[in-house]
Symmetry: C3
Subunit: 144 residues, 3 copies
């Protein structure tokens, strides 16, 4: 993994065979990034994605060993139990340009992983919301 | 809806059962955000998306009542008839990780809605372009 | 093509019949943007996308003449052989809301092209990585 910093923006390159979620989470932890926005593209393999079942309150999960283009990665960083936590959703495409998508559990870089992280100076954290069944974001101000 | 602000960046959490486009538009209106970039992820329901038919100059529309992961939301804020107007495109994924996409008319949060809005200090507005058939963005500088 | 600038952020409107990759690359060249993040939405035609075959070390390519919604465009700017180079991945959707995705070679605006470019003050450049088979991003700092 390599990176460069420009004020609150980080350009991050995750290298072949490195795990994306593990690397980004560790990067936030060691660089004191508690809140932020992450987006990126690349080519990945050994991917586990899922969809949240709002009735059963659990994730349906699927694993894919194939190489996919990572055509969209969009996520955020918040504090969960006082540690930086990365939540990201992805769209993948195969060699026929067919797409798949979901909540990202983990994926490994197959060729390249090119990301931008923008640090947000805030106090966003996650707390279990029993109605939703997930640790949901809590922010300082209410609107509406 | 909850939010936090860091200079020109807003972290926005749209809560279960709140409408996404309505909430974001109202937020821009009440916070004096005339131009900006919005992106996000979440899980949504009761979604209407569309595709623009450039020949008929009208949107084809489809409605989905099911819950989908909101795997990509990318949009912008401009002024249309002097009011903040949100234009966004989305990618959704179902419980089989199959994706759908299009121009977003409206969707409702089914579990969580996690967005970033970056305010752009500009004068971007939309004006009907008869050739395109849509209110198109007008910016200050020409290039090429 | 039209644009507006707010510090390091550029709001860019690519007009009907203009090529997206060509226009963005030229914009970076003439505005001295060596590194950056680009995202956007729109409606496009005459699109060539691909997927990287990590075994053969070459891109599989497909061309589409149809009009698609550009539902996600995510990319970056780095220096390649000392010139600004745009690398972008896209998700497209058709009139049935079915999606396609891949590495973007080129596409032409069919209706509108709405982009944000955030300049990154950095030294990111690409250099051939023989293991990957592609010019890969090199950044100043190593991590992990």
């Amino acid at each position: 993994m390599q990176y460069e910093k420009d004020k609150q923006d980080y350009f991050i390159y995750i290298e072949k065979n490195e795990k994306v979620m593990h690397s980004l989470t560790k990067f936030c932890l060691e660089n004191n990034i508690q809140n932020g926005k992450i987006s990126g593209i690349g080519a990945v393999k050994m991917t586990e994605i899922g969809a949240y079942d709002i009735i059963k309150k659990e994730y349906l999960k699927k694993e894919y060993s194939d190489v996919f283009e990572l055509v969209s990665f969009e996520g955020n960083v918040t504090l969960k139990e006082s540690q930086p936590f990365v939540h990201a959703h992805v769209v993948l495409s195969d060699h026929n340009m067919i797409t798949l998508g979901g909540h990202l559990f983990e994926t490994t870089v197959a060729a390249v992983g090119e990301f931008f992280l923008r640090k947000f100076e805030g106090n966003a954290y996650r707390k279990l919301n029993r109605d939703v069944g997930l640790p949901c974001i809590c922010l300082e101000n209410k609107f509406l």
